[in-house]
């Protein structure tokens, strides 16, 4: 076939995306070799100073480490809960259409605005949660100013917001599964648990991997909940790279240094996600379904 | 005015050589049957003609026009696939109208032609149904109506009856013959793995094997004079039994020493190693004497029984009329009538075939 037709399909989208992304990307790379900040704007050249500073910036590296476990933890919880409620909403409960709508709603809400609502729930003096706790005779918790509870608060907000995404993708997957393997399992007299472990779960593997990957990509950008709930605090106990970079670039206006952190973050994110993608691809292959 | 293939070859990285130097002239108004095993290159040959498979070398011309620069959509080739392919979102009528409108027919003309063609395949009552609401056989009829109504100069059918049940197959086979006869100017090429289909449609037969056309001729020619053991196997259903033998001292000697007198037609061949072939319905189970073997498999189908027998000379398949109560593991004696034997060289080439069937 002539080359023109394949190109007609791919090139407009590809070129549009490149056109949108190329300048910001090149600019970000270039600016990391300058000293652009609040008192000195413009692209001078100072060599690798920013990169050197980044290597020594322990606050940055600990935020990356925190992001690593925060995103894996929240996505893991979202996957397990999302799968569970998807199984319930799949079949076997009354009024499942009602529950399906209800359980989808959090995904529809604006994360940055819901973060404000979460703040009004977790806020320590006038928040809903401490209000409830004191009412039942328990001690109030320092949800936003103590490191442990603050991380719990962020995890709860993330799980609430994004479990429905897992739920939706997994439920749609469950609904599209062929019926024959289940009939075969029923004829063999397999228990509910065995049917799940031997039939449902393996058949859902490709969809699960897709959903987990896209959630990991989005979770690597955790920002709204952290910024609105704790501003990275107490101290830096809940700070993610996105929040730290936001502070350096857009609040302290250290554009060059902020971009250096951002670029490194991007490189690491792509590397990590590529490795995870490869691992998943290998894990799912031998099952052959 | 015909479809001419000259030295057409296709090699792919994944499957190696799939079409190997094919040259052939297809004339309009005739039906050509491509017969061969599943990977023999039948589908590839059709896809190459349609333009769906780019060819590496060689030339395809239609009425003197080179196909090389003609993209698929300008070749005017109608195809019926083994799977029933229709547009799922269009009704039966819209499905059949679609190619006609693409061809530039007016809306009213297209409708008229489409209706005629749908009636011809007997789906007049289902005009507004979607393909998914039809049975497999009906879906294949829609596909057929769509291809027939176009009056294309080239019509390709790739095992169109493959996925249908036995009864429907029988019925459509007969209908096909009539339908194709109305396509006087078209080259019709029909691929199948089933010898009966090839014989019933009564057309020119091309036997394909490993990307080559290994024999071409009328059904009787190919059936009675298979040029090699490969053709003999492909064209015989159940497959022909082929056994290694040697000719010496006026006898055919089988692998285990069993021997029988040489038939008159084979007398002129010099002594040495050969292969003989015999069709399943020519083998007779003997009361006594003959070659002894053990039954390894029994298939009862309709009014016949197929018995697979392991003999010291090799595996033999025999067909018995009626239903017989024979069991796997039993021993059986068989006779290979000398006047029904094909003689092949050890490399598979035909030496001599028996007199025509039935005598």
């Amino acid at each position: 076939m002539k080359k023109g037709y394949p190109r007609f399909f791919l090139l407009p989208g590809l070129l549009l995306l490149i056109a949108i992304i190329i300048f910001p990307l090149l600019f970000t790379i270039r600016v990391t070799f300058s000293s652009w900040n609040v008192s000195q704007s413009g692209l001078n050249f100072i060599g690798g100073e920013n990169w050197g500073e980044m290597v020594r910036d322990t606050r940055y590296w600990s935020s990356l480490l925190r992001l690593f476990y925060l995103s894996f933890l929240t996505v893991a919880i979202q996957y397990v809960l999302g799968f569970a409620i998807a199984l319930f909403a799949w079949k076997g409960i009354a009024a499942r259409r009602f529950y399906r709508v209800l359980w989808l709603i959090p995904m529809m809400t604006t994360p940055s605005l819901m973060a404000i609502i979460w703040r009004s729930i977790f806020t320590e003096d006038i928040g809903a949660l401490n209000g409830l706790l004191t009412r039942v005779g328990l001690d109030p918790v320092n949800w936003l100013t103590e490191s442990g509870p603050a991380n719990v608060a962020i995890t709860i907000a993330e799980v609430w917001q994004w479990t429905p995404f897992m739920f939706l993708i997994l439920l749609a997957g469950l609904l599209s599964l062929p019926k024959e393997p289940f009939m075969a399992a029923a004829i063999d007299g397999a228990s509910a648990w065995k049917t799940f472990a031997r039939v449902t779960f393996p058949m859902m593997a490709p969809i699960s991997i897709g959903a987990i990957m896209i959630r990991l990509i989005d979770a690597s950008k955790i920002f709204d909940s952290v910024f609105t709930l704790t501003r990275g605090g107490p101290g830096n106990a809940t700070e993610t790279p996105a929040a730290y970079i936001f502070q350096r670039s857009l609040q302290d206006f250290q554009i060059a240094y902020g971009s250096t952190l951002a670029l490194m973050y991007l490189i690491l994110a792509i590397l990590t996600l590529t490795i995870i993608g490869k691992v998943f691809a290998r894990l799912s292959k031998p099952r052959g379904i | 005015m015909s479809l001419i293939l000259k030295n057409v070859s296709v090699t792919t990285e994944k499957d190696g050589v799939i079409l190997d130097d094919i040259s052939f002239e297809f004339k309009p108004g005739r039906i050509y049957i491509l017969i061969g095993r599943t990977t023999s290159g039948k589908t590839s040959l059709m896809r190459a003609i349609a333009g769906l498979l780019p060819i590496d070398s060689g030339q395809i011309t239609m009425n003197g026009e080179d196909f090389e620069d003609k993209p698929i959509w300008e070749r005017d080739v109608a195809v019926v696939y083994q799977q029933f392919i229709n547009y799922p979102n269009k009704s039966v009528l819209q499905n059949v109208e679609f190619p006609l409108l693409r061809k530039g027919l007016k809306k009213s003309e297209a409708r008229e032609v489409a209706l005629a063609s749908i009636n011809k395949v007997g789906l007049g009552d289902y005009l507004d149904r979607k393909p998914a609401q039809l049975s497999g056989g009906q879906q294949q009829r829609v596909a057929l109506a769509r291809s027939l109504s176009r009056q294309s100069h080239i019509m390709l059918l790739d095992e169109p009856l493959m996925n249908l049940d036995y009864k429907l197959r029988e019925q459509l086979r007969v209908e096909f013959k009539e339908l194709f006869n109305s396509q006087k100017d078209a080259v019709t090429i029909y691929a199948t793995t089933e010898p009966p289909e090839a014989l019933i449609l009564g057309a020119e037969i091309l036997v394909m094997h490993e990307g080559r056309i290994i024999q071409y001729g009328s059904p009787t020619e190919v059936y009675e004079q298979p040029q090699s053991t490969t053709v003999a196997r492909v064209i015989s259903d159940p497959p022909m039994s082929i056994l290694p033998v040697s000719l010496s001292a006026g006898e055919i000697r089988f692998g285990d020493g069993y021997s029988q007198p040489i038939p008159a037609k084979m007398k002129n061949f010099k002594e040495g190693h050969y292969q003989v072939g015999i069709r399943a319905n020519d083998i007779v189970s003997a009361k006594s004497g003959g070659e002894k073997g053990t039954i390894s498999l029994v298939e009862v189908s309709g009014s016949e029984t197929l018995v697979y027998v392991d003999t010291p000379a090799g595996e033999v398949v025999l067909q018995m009329e009626g239903i017989h109560d024979v069991k796997v593991g039993e021993s059986i004696s068989i006779e290979l009538p000398g006047n029904r034997l094909f003689l092949f060289e050890t490399n598979g080439a035909l030496c001599v075939s028996p007199d025509s069937a039935g005598e």
Binding site: P6, F27, L104, L132, G173, G258, I270 | W73, I85
Partner: protein, 278 residues
């Protein structure tokens, strides 16, 4: 036993899902005094419901802000970015599903990864260069500027979903269309596109959700003319956080999308989403 566990789980999860939303709704009807002096839960008993929060955001004498223009802006920007992403994204996805592209050592899988990887870019990385770029192009604080920027985040989702969707459609359909006189472009628009409604609907819904809910780009790349709804709400935050107003405007801004939950559910029940995620 299993049944009890299941019912308990379903109830707890449903309460958890509902709690923040109920809290937002009740807070939006609280007077200032019922918020700043500690948590209150039961209306009439613990506080007298008040419309002060809602009056602040709806047109009228007590209005603090106008949320209607931002709502319109959000509609325009979301619809625009969704349309652009769907058109270009599904064309590219179809190409990647049907043809083999090769450039040096890069294969289709690499091109798909390139598309998807655009989603890895955190908005903070892009905010400043986008600001400079749009300023240079005179697109700062315009609908078009924001639409283009959002497209870079939405098109990857469309490509990701639609490549799988097109892969699941039998190739024989496009081949048939080409054999019947359509070039690949006509084959796509006349036979494949009409079959792609379920896939396009799912991809479109994701675009709407992510586009409507974006705050970062809207915050950094628009000022007054193209204020979007979430940004306008955030801007209400003052020295004393007026939770009652913020709650009212949050409820206001999520209503349009909650309707989408019903649309998605209908698609699920008709079995139309299945093929879209395979």
């Amino acid at each position: 036993m299993y049944k009890v566990l299941k019912a308990t789980f379903i109830t707890i999860w449903s309460l958890f899902v509902l709690f923040p939303i109920m809290w937002a709704i009740t807070t939006s009807f609280k007077p200032e005094s019922a918020v700043v002096n500690g948590a209150t839960f039961i209306p009439f008993l613990e506080y007298q419901p008040s419309l002060i929060g809602w009056k602040a955001i709806l047109p009228g004498p007590d209005s603090l802000t106008n949320l209607l223009t931002p709502t319109l802006n959000s509609f325009i920007v979301t619809a625009g970015a969704t349309a652009v992403s769907l058109i270009f994204g599904s064309l590219a996805a179809y190409g990647l599903s049907r043809f083999t592209y090769g450039w040096k050592n890069y294969s289709n899988a690499d091109i798909i990864f390139f598309f998807v990887s655009q989603r890895i870019m955190p908005p903070v990385v892009l905010a400043i260069p986008f600001f400079l770029l749009l300023k240079e192009l005179k697109l700062l604080d315009t609908h078009l500027g924001l639409i283009l920027v959002l497209t870079s985040g939405l098109m990857p989702i469309v490509v990701w979903l639609m490549v799988d969707f097109f892969n699941a459609l039998p190739r024989e359909i496009d081949e048939m269309a080409m054999l019947e006189g359509c070039n690949p472009i006509q084959a796509f628009f006349r036979t494949i596109l009409p079959l792609s409604k379920p896939g396009l609907t799912v991809a479109g819904m994701f675009c709407v959700i992510f586009g409507w809910n974006d705050i970062f780009f809207a915050l950094t790349l628009t000022a007054t003319k193209v204020l979007t709804l979430p940004v306008a709400v955030i801007a209400l935050n003052g020295t004393v956080t007026p939770y009652w107003i913020l709650a009212a405007s949050t409820v206001f801004s999520i209503i349009p999308l909650v309707g989408l939950a019903f649309v998605i559910e209908r698609f699920l029940s008709r079995g139309n989403l299945g093929g879209a995620v395979r």
